[in-house]
């Protein structure tokens, strides 16, 4: 006996540009919805770029553009959902033209979508590189002695200077890296479990064929749920890192420069409108106990009495903006994945996945692995260096 997974019955469907697709007659699932959403995204991003200045809402016209953009995106999503929600993932239209002939259209589409995503993140990375190399590093400015206490200097302050300054600051980012790798693996396990033939599954878990469907559903839901949990952990730790902070375990306080709390980036003043940022490393009195490098210009100037020392204030808005925009864009992708995972977990619990439609998990997995892939680059270059 073969289990019946995820079959929907949709004999009454009629092909319509806006309504549910006619899956039973093999209609291609072309849709206007992505075009609508693209227009919405364009309006949202254009408005969003103009709405805030210095952390304040500066342009109500732009704000209405943001709201209208969000409404259009939501409408596009609803149309898309209505058209595709009837798909059971069993009927897979194949590409007919070169070079993708006979490959599932959904698979090709996902890869083309990921290509556009690569371009998005590449633009963020090239912006980061351009600014990081184009604006003098705050650490170098400090050691050059070309600053006066009380006057802010424009320089690039990588978030890594703060985050990698102690194991505690680094902890949320490091845990998140492991969480994403594990989540990439759990989604592979969900796919493997869903794809296994009923006979093989029954043999592997030594159960009767009648129990395969229920057993498999629970297992797939467990792996998808684990992925969802790890994604939630990722965003929670990101919020802790950005806005909340956490206490240092008592005996380890000494390792945190004597502080009993790991401050969030926000509390440390690392924000997109920080024009007078003061990191402890830019405090010459702090450096009395930590040695300013003797070959630095600042040391020579202080020795010669031509520099009074003090605390350097820095305008770090560019560095902070590149950090928050890049890691924030990645976070939005994690959030989008969580919505997909929540739906898929519920579907799995209802017996929605089996060997005939497991590719749906594979195609979502491509997106999820891509999110992991981006983090593989974001973590070292934004958090560690």
């Amino acid at each position: 006996m073969s289990a019946d997974y995820g079959h929907d019955h949709h004999d009454d469907h009629h092909a319509s540009p806006w309504g549910p697709h006619d899956w039973s007659h093999g209609a291609p699932h072309n849709s206007f919805a992505p075009l609508i959403m693209s227009a919405g995204f364009a309006m949202f991003l254009y408005g969003f770029a103009n709405v805030f200045i210095g952390g304040e809402v500066a342009d109500l016209g732009a704000l209405s553009g943001v709201m209208l953009g969000l409404i259009i995106i939501t409408m596009g999503l609803l149309v898309w959902w209505r058209q595709d929600m009837s798909a059971d993932g069993i009927y897979e239209p194949k590409a007919t033209g070169a070079p993708f002939r006979n490959i599932d259209i959904r698979k090709v589409s996902m890869w083309i979508f990921l290509m556009s995503e690569m371009m998005v993140f590449t633009s963020l990375f090239s912006t980061y590189i351009r600014y990081r190399l184009g604006i003098q590093n705050c650490g170098e400015v400090f050691l050059s002695g070309e600053w006066v206490e009380g006057t802010s200097v424009v320089c690039f302050e990588p978030a890594a200077h703060l985050i990698a300054s102690s194991w505690f600051h680094l902890a949320p980012g490091a845990v998140n890296t492991f969480a994403l790798i594990i989540s990439s693996f759990t989604i592979v396990l969900a796919l493997k479990t869903a794809k296994m033939s009923d006979k093989k599954y029954a043999d592997k878990y030594e159960i009767d064929m009648e129990r395969v469907r229920t057993h498999r559903s629970r297992k797939v839901a467990m792996f998808l749920g684990s992925t969802l949990f790890l994604a939630t952990l990722f965003l929670t730790l990101k919020m802790i890192e950005w806005f909340i902070g956490f206490p240092t375990p008592g005996p380890l306080t000494d390792l945190n420069h004597g502080h009993s709390e790991i401050a969030s980036l926000y509390s440390e003043g690392y924000t997109i409108h920080a024009n007078s940022y003061q990191h402890y490393a830019y405090d010459t009195s702090y450096h009395d106990g930590h040695d300013i490098p003797h070959d630095s210009a600042l040391y020579s100037m202080m020795q010669a009495g031509t520099h009074p020392g003090g605390v350097m204030m820095a305008d770090i808005r560019v560095g902070a903006s590149t950090f928050f925009v890049t890691t924030g864009t990645h976070g939005v992708h994690v959030l989008a994945g969580m919505i997909g995972l929540a739906y898929m977990t519920l579907k799995a619990l209802r017996g929605g996945y089996g060997p005939s439609n497991a590719v749906s998990i594979e195609y979502f997995g491509l997106y999820w692995h891509f999110v992991d892939l981006v983090w593989v680059l974001v973590f070292p270059f934004f958090y560690l260096f």
Binding site: F125, L133, L170, T177, I181, L373, V376, L384, F385
Partner: protein, 109 residues
């Protein structure tokens, strides 16, 4: 799904443990003060294999019937990435003043 093994073991498990170990080395390399150049070299040296391992094994760009064409598809943006990183990101690295005024700090205040 993969129809091959790595050292006789399931490729997904091997890939998973490989990624975990590389990440642990990456984090440790930052904790041990080795200097900027060495640290950067280690980070790049680890990011590249991690990137390839995820793409090739988890995303099935290796070992499937359609892996070749999909790898070519995935690499297609590489041209634009090279242009953006090398000809925009790395141009005139010493000069912040060459950035357009609207890109520079202070313009929007």
């Amino acid at each position: 799904m993969a129809h091959y093994t790595i050292f006789g073991k399931d490729p997904y498990w091997m890939n998973f443990w490989g990624l975990m170990i590389l990440t642990a080395i990456e984090v440790a390399a930052v904790g041990v003060e080795l200097g900027d150049t060495i640290t950067m070299s280690i980070l790049i040296g680890i990011a590249i294999p991690k990137f390839i391992m995820i793409a090739a094994i988890f995303m099935h760009l290796y070992g499937d019937a359609d892996s070749k064409i999909l790898t070519m598809t995935a690499l297609f943006p590489a041209f634009f990435i090279i242009v953006m990183v090398f000809f925009i990101g790395l141009t005139s690295p010493g000069s912040a003043t060459e950035l357009p005024a609207w890109c520079r700090p202070g313009y929007w205040t």
